[in-house]
């Protein structure tokens, strides 16, 4: 039955094309690491990898949303720092006010701490969607402003004296041996996955990024969706900022300085197309996991940390070159 064989091969090719080689690369990397360095498989190490992957995937999911609508968010790292400083300051401030319940202080402080980051997201969205300024320039500008303010407010010294509930429970607490941030990442990724695949809102994001003009002409308020993407990205960066602050136990203006590059790398390796309109949550999550495994593995086999950025840079080039090769072949055949 040759016809059916051809059909089967076609289907297999289609499935392969939609999954890509990332899962294979991830499994091979894990396998090699496990063979070469048995410590990789220790549960404490695996939990560590999972924790880093959670931080990375939350912030990269926001980056992905912005890239899908045809933009960039360079300011995510600075938003993490800003949120760290603002949440620490508001927790300390609320504690000084004499509020009795520590839980109340922490909850209110976290909510207040998210505000500056969301303001940055609103500003990004306004300049990009309403003023039509290049997202690259806008977010570079807001990045320097946010980082400058965070540095100015702290004056270079971290903010200590955060309540135990915040640093011990949120930062180091765990449920079924998994840190809370893993659950947070699962919830965030699940919600975004649901939005992207099951709701109209998600499809509108793709439509805006795929062809903004067509989307506008067919009656979509494209500004609204672009704006929403930047605010969501800022909110997710803020959430990462809260968890990281709890983890390190103090409000620091230098927190998350390399998350901007890492989040863009994760998105790019996860197949999010920089021209907009393409990108899926599961791939971004896999890609975040892959980068976390890679850097964990490099530390385990004692590759000097100075080489890490070289290797990650090379991985990005290979990933994108493979992507553009696949795309040119697809264009050539179709």
């Amino acid at each position: 039955m040759p016809a059916q064989t051809i059909q089967n091969t076609a289907r297999r090719n289609r499935i392969m094309a939609s999954i890509g080689i990332l899962p294979v690369v991830l499994i091979v990397t894990c396998g090699l690491l496990a063979l070469y360095e048995p410590r990789f498989l220790r549960s404490s190490n695996l939990i560590n990898v999972l924790r880093n992957a959670s931080f990375l995937s939350i912030i990269s999911a926001g980056q992905m949303l912005v890239i899908i609508v045809g933009g960039f968010d360079i300011s995510v790292g600075a938003i993490v720092a800003l949120t760290s400083v603002s949440s620490a300051l508001s927790i300390v401030w609320l504690a000084d006010l004499g509020i009795e319940s520590v839980a109340m202080i922490v909850a209110l402080g976290c909510l207040l701490g998210l505000v500056p980051g969301i303001l940055v997201g609103l500003a990004n969205g306004f300049f990009v969607s309403v003023m039509k300024i290049s997202p690259f320039m806008v977010t570079i500008g807001t990045m320097t402003i946010a980082a400058g303010i965070a540095g100015y407010v702290t004056g270079g010294t971290p903010i200590y004296d955060l309540p135990d509930l915040f640093t011990r429970e949120i930062g180091r607490g765990s449920l079924f041996r998994l840190p809370y941030v893993v659950y947070a990442a699962a919830v965030v990724l699940g919600l975004l996955w649901y939005m992207q695949t099951q709701t109209r809102l998600g499809r509108y994001f793709y439509a805006v990024g795929g062809n903004e003009k067509a989307a506008r002409l067919s009656g979509l308020n494209t500004r609204k969706y672009i704006w929403a993407a930047y605010v969501l990205s800022a909110l997710l960066a803020g959430i990462v900022g809260l968890f990281l602050t709890a983890r390190v136990g103090s409000g620091e203006a230098t927190l998350g300085s390399n998350l901007m590059l890492e989040s863009i790398s994760v998105a790019v390796i996860g197949g999010v197309a920089l021209k907009g309109g393409v990108g899926r949550i599961p791939m971004v999550a896999l890609s975040a996991l892959f980068l976390s495994v890679l850097s964990n593995g490099m530390s385990l086999i004692r590759i000097d940390s100075k080489y890490h950025i070289i290797i990650i840079g090379i991985v990005i080039v290979i990933a994108v070159a493979a992507e553009s090769y696949r795309e040119s072949r697809r264009a050539g055949h179709g």
């Binding site: 960039f72 300049f127 003023m131 039509k132 300024i133 290049s134 690259f136 320039m137 806008v138 570079i140 500008g141 807001t142 990045m143 320097t144 402003i145 980082a147 400058g148 303010i149 540095g151 100015y152 004056g155 270079g156 590059l261 863009i264 790398s265 790019v268 920089l274 021209k275 000097d304 100075k306 080489y307 890490h308 950025i309 070289i310 990650i312 840079g313 090379i314 990005i316 080039v317 994108v320 070159a321 553009s324 040119s328």
Partner: protein
């Protein structure tokens, strides 16, 4: 709107954009001079000339690729790597071959490395057709990694005195040497961009990639050489900055990436490609240098200075969006 006003050449709105930046620069200088007379003291003017000359090179490196609707995020890493390698070459050749040959070899190595790094970017952007943002993002981390690896993360001291003298302290007709070099390079770039086929192709490329292809030019080669030029310009900046600090620094260029793009765009190059003349990096470098030197003299908190630069960046980009809205 700009098209309508073009017919009347003396219309203020037509020439206003060309006067805006020089006026802004003069305004900044006058403002800080009023607050702090040291701003226009002889020593500070020389300082402004030197600093903006150094900054001009990274902004110009950025301009060449921005014209093609590209980016070069790796300029800063390029500066660092050139600084480290040329310093290592100089310090290792110095005992055996003497100052002159050592310095000459160091400068040549620096330029060659800049060209090579630019060529790597160029191959990936022009021939492998990868998005320039991603390419230079990746090469930025690779080059930075190499610079910190080979230097061990420490500055390289004991550079020959002659090097600092020849590339920083020497004056010709009262003008500091970086300014002379910047002037010569600016003139060369201006001729290249306006009088040669290569220059024209770069503008066409930025306007529309397809038109350039249809026009029958070997587009990839031109795009490739734009990145090589950018790499060489960044290398010159690296050499001059090394001469100024007097040591090879593995993190010399870290802060230059964003400000170089800022300078080029504030000066009038559009990120949408196809526009931008040699005046863009000149004005942009002067404006940002005057601002930061002024803020330093005024002793404004170091963390707040980027806030000002960031606000100006967004303002410049808004101006750009306004200018190009008609197109």
């Amino acid at each position: 709107m700009a098209d309508q006003t073009q017919s009347t050449p003396l219309d203020l709105r037509a020439i206003a954009p060309h006067l805006l930046l020089p006026l802004a620069i003069i305004g900044v200088v006058v403002f800080f001079a009023a607050l702090q007379p040291a701003m226009i003291s002889g020593g500070n003017v020389v300082n402004i000339m030197k600093q903006s000359s150094l900054f001009f090179f990274v902004a110009a490196a950025q301009l060449v690729v921005i014209i093609t609707r590209g980016f070069d995020l790796s300029v800063g890493a390029n500066v660092s790597l050139v600084s480290v390698v040329s310093s290592m070459v100089m310090t290792s050749l110095l005992p055996g071959l003497g100052v002159e040959i050592g310095v000459f070899a160091g400068v040549c190595t620096g330029l060659a490395i800049g060209a090579a790094l630019g060529a790597i970017n160029g191959v990936l952007v022009a021939y492998a057709r990868i998005n320039p943002f991603v390419v230079t993002l990746a090469t930025m981390s690779i080059f930075t990694g190499i610079a910190t690896t080979i230097s061990g993360g420490f500055p390289i001291f004991n550079l020959p005195e002659g090097f600092s003298f020849a590339l920083n302290q020497m004056t010709v007709l009262l003008l500091p040497i970086p300014l002379i070099i910047a002037g010569a390079v600016a003139w060369g770039l201006h001729v290249m961009l306006t009088r040669t086929v290569h220059g024209r192709v770069l503008y066409v490329l930025g306007d529309s990639n397809e038109v350039a292809h249809v026009g029958g030019r070997r587009v990839r080669e031109h795009l490739f050489f734009a990145y090589v030029t950018s790499g060489i310009l960044a290398a010159i900046a690296g050499l001059l900055m090394t001469a100024q600090t007097g040591s090879g620094e593995p993190n010399l260029g870290t802060s230059l990436v964003l400000s170089s793009i800022a300078a080029a765009v504030i000066g009038g190059a559009s990120l949408r490609g196809g526009t931008g003349t040699i005046s863009a990096p000149i004005y942009g470098a002067l404006l940002i240098t005057c601002l930061s030197i002024g803020m330093n003299l005024q002793q404004i908190n170091g963390s707040l200075q980027p806030v000002v630069i960031g606000a100006i960046l967004i303002f410049g980009a808004a101006l750009d969006a306004y200018r190009t809205r008609g197109r």
